[in-house]
C-alpha cells in the first residue's frame, strides 16, 4: 500500500517516442485509472512500472524507494494481464500458488492462503481444474487471485475486462471496486474504455496519443471540467463550438459566427484567455434542454431544426442542425414521469443550457 511516483519518464519503442515525459503520482490505497486511446502508450507505462521494460530516462518511485533499476521479480508489484496469461499446464490451485511456492512458504500455509482466496473469488469448486477448462469470467478471477495472493503493494490491471461480454464486465467492475475497497491495495487500471475508467476510479489520468498526461482528477472533475479539448472529446460525448471571447472581466461571453452571443462562467482566468481571442466551448449533450416552447430561467438559448432522432432506451438522442450549419447533440432522459413533449423530425426547437455547464477550452 504505497504510492507510485513517476518522474519525467521517457520511452521510445522501435524508433517512435511512446512516452514523452510522464509525471504522475498514483496515490497509495486508491483505485487509479489511466485512460487513453489505443496506442497512446498507456500499456507501455504499465510495463515500465511492472519492470517488464526499462525507461530511457526518468525515475519510478514506490513510496520513497527508487525502483527504476529494480529487476521485475523483486518488485512488490503484480500485473493482471490483458489475456490473463494463466499457465495452461498448471491447475487453478498451482496457478494461484505459483508466487507463494517461489517464496518457499510452508506447504500448509500456501494451501491455507490459496484456498482462502479461491473461496473469496467463488472458485473453490474449480481448484483442481486446468485453467483452460474455465469460462472467461472464471479465468479472469484466477488471474486476479494469482496477482493478489502475494499481497503486492500495487496491483496493475491491463485492460483486464476487455475479453468479457458486457454484462459480465459490469459485474466484474463492481467486484473490482469492492475488492479494492477491502484490500486497500493501490490499483492502477489501464483502459481505453471511458465507461470502465469512470466507473472504477477514485482518481484518473487521461493520456493523449503523443504519450503525455493531459489531465488528472476525479472522474467527476474530468467529465464535468475537462481542461483540454482532447479530454472533452475523449471522455464521454460532447458538443464543441468555436468562437471569440469578449468582456472577460465584466460579462464574459463568447460570440459564435452565425449563432450570436452566449454567456460563460469563468471561475479561473487563465493566461490565454484574452479579449477577442479564439476559444472553444464544450457542452455535454445531457446538459442541454430541448423544447419546442420558449422557456425562461436559462442563461443561453439557440434555435435549430431536428435532423435526426436516435432512441437509446434510457435516453433519446436528438441531433439538431443550427443556423450556421453546425450540429448539436442533445440527450434527453426517457423518465416519462409526466407526459413528455413530442418532438419529431424537422421540428423547429429551442436548445437551452446554463452558463455553469459550459467548459471553456483553449483553441
Amino acid at each position: 500500500m504505497r504510492s507510485i511516483r513517476l518522474k519525467g519518464l521517457k520511452k521510445s519503442l522501435e524508433g517512435g517516442l511512446v512516452l514523452n515525459g510522464i509525471d504522475l503520482v498514483i496515490p497509495s490505497g486508491k483505485f487509479f485509472a489511466l485512460l487513453g486511446p489505443s496506442g497512446c502508450g498507456k500499456t507501455t507505462l504499465l510495463r515500465l512500472i511492472a519492470g517488464l521494460e526499462q525507461a530511457d530516462s526518468g525515475k519510478i518511485f514506490l513510496g520513497e524507494r527508487d525502483i527504476t533499476e529494480l529487476p521485475i521479480h523483486e518488485r512488490p508489484i503484480n500485473i493482471v494481464f490483458q489475456n490473463y496469461a494463466l499457465f495452461p499446464h498448471l491447475n487453478v490451485f498451482d496457478n494461484v500458488a505459483y508466487s507463494l511456492k517461489l517464496k518457499k512458504l510452508p506447504k500448509e500455509l500456501i494451501k491455507e492462503k490459496v484456498l482462502k482466496i479461491l473461496e473469496a473469488f467463488h472458485l473453490e469448486r474449480h481448484v483442481h481444474k486446468l485453467t483452460t477448462q474455465l469460462s472467461g469470467g472464471q479465468q479472469q478471477r484466477v488471474a486476479l487471485a494469482r496477482a493478489i495472493v502475494n499481497e503486492p503493494d500495487v496491483l496493475l490491471l491491463d485492460e483486464p475486462l476487455a475479453a468479457l461480454d458486457f454484462k459480465l464486465r459490469e459485474r466484474m467492475l463492481i467486484e473490482l471496486i469492492e475488492l479494492q475497497d477491502k484490500l486497500k491495495t493501490t490499483f492502477l487500471y489501464v483502459t481505453h474504455d471511458q465507461f470502465e475508467a469512470l466507473t472504477v476510479a477514485d482518481q484518473m489520468a487521461i493520456m493523449n496519443p503523443s504519450g503525455q498526461i493531459e489531465q488528472i482528477g476525479t472522474p467527476k472533475e474530468i467529465y464535468e471540467f475537462p481542461s483540454t479539448s482532447f479530454v472533452a472529446r475523449f471522455v464521454g460525448t460532447t458538443n464543441i463550438l468555436s468562437g471569440t471571447l469578449h468582456q472577460l472581466d465584466t460579462d464574459p461571453h463568447i460570440s459564435i459566427e452565425g449563432l450570436g452571443q452566449f454567456k460563460l462562467q469563468v471561475p479561473q482566468k487563465r493566461e490565454w484567455m484574452q479579449e477577442g481571442c479564439n476559444a472553444l466551448i464544450s457542452i455535454r449533450p445531457e446538459k442541454i434542454f430541448i423544447s419546442k416552447k420558449e422557456v425562461k430561467n436559462f442563461s443561453n438559448v439557440v434555435k435549430g431544426i431536428v435532423s435526426s432522432i436516435v432512441y437509446h432506451g434510457r435516453s433519446t438522442q436528438y441531433n439538431v442542425l443550427l443556423n450556421n450549419k453546425s450540429r448539436l447533440q442533445v440527450f434527453e432522459q426517457n423518465e416519462e414521469h409526466f407526459p413528455q413533449e413530442v418532438i419529431d423530425y424537422d421540428n423547429e426547437v429551442y436548445l437551452y443550457w446554463q452558463k455553469e455547464n459550459v467548459t471553456l477550452l483553449e483553441q
Binding site: A50, G51, L52, I72, H73, E74, I77, N78, I79, F81, N83, A85, L86, F87, P88, H89, L90, N91, F93, D94, A97, Y98, S99, L102, K103, K107, I110, K111, R146, A147, N150
Partner: protein, 288 residues
Amino acid sequence: MKKKTLSSEYPFAIGIPAVIWQILFFYAPLLLLLVGSFLTWSDTNTFTGVSLDKFTFFFRGSYLSVIASSLLLALSNSIICFLIAYPLAYFMAFKGRKWQNLLLFFLIVPFWTNFLLHVYAWFFVLEREGFLNTLLQWLGITSEPIIFLNSTFATMVMMVYYYMPFILLPMYSSLEKFDVKLIEASYDLGASWLQTLRKIVLPLCSRGIKTGFFLVFIPSFGEFAIPELMGGDRRMFVGTVVSQFILGDETGSFGAAFTVFSCVVLLISSLALYFFIDWLLKPKATRW
C-alpha cells in the same frame, strides 16, 4: 448438395498407395526378419525347426557391450544435441525474431548437399594437416598436430553435426508458438530466469523436446555410416554388427536375430527414457 469427392466417398481409398508401400517395404521385411530370426537351418540349407538359440547366442559380453556402446552413443548424442540446440532454438524463437528466416535458412542449407560430402568436409577439418590442427597450432595451443580422425571424438563431432537439426527444428517450432506473456507473468510473480525456464518454458515445450530427442535417439542407436567412416574400427556398434552378419556368408539369420534383439532393447530403453523425460519436465503439482 454435398460435393462428392474420392476422400468423402471412400475415405480409405486415398490412403491405399501409402498402405501398400508401408506393407511391402516395412511390415513385410520386418516380418521376414522376425520369423527368420527364430528359424534354424541345417548345413545343407534344409529347414530344421524353430528355436531361440540365436538369441541366447547374443547373451554374452561382447554382444551386450556392442549394444551398450550403441545406447551410450545414442544417449550422449541426443543429450549433446539437446544442450546445443535448446539455447539456439530459444535464441531464434525469442531474441532472433528479426533474423529467424535467415537462421532457419542456414540450418537447412546443409541438407542440400549429400551426406558423403559432409563427411569429406569434416575430414578436411579434422585431418592431420587440417583446418582444426592448423588453427590450434597457429593459436599456439599445441605444437604437434593432434590425431582427431578415427576416434570416438570424430564420431561424436560428426554425429552431433548431422543430427542436431532434427532436434532443433521441433523445439524451435514449439518455442516459436510460445506465448511470451507467460514468461512475463512468471517474472512478475517473482520467478528468476532459471525458475521460469524450469517451471514454465521447459514443461510447456516438452512435446517439442521429446519429439526432437527421439528423432535423434532412435536413428543414432542404429547409426552405421558415421562410426564406420569417422571412428575407424576402434569400436563396434549395433549397425556395424548387423551389417557384418547380414552381408556375411550364411550368417543372415544371425543378423536377423541380432536386429530383432537390439530393436527390443531400443524399444524398452526408448520407453523408459520417454517416461523419464516426461517426469523430469512435468510440473510438480501440489499433492493432496
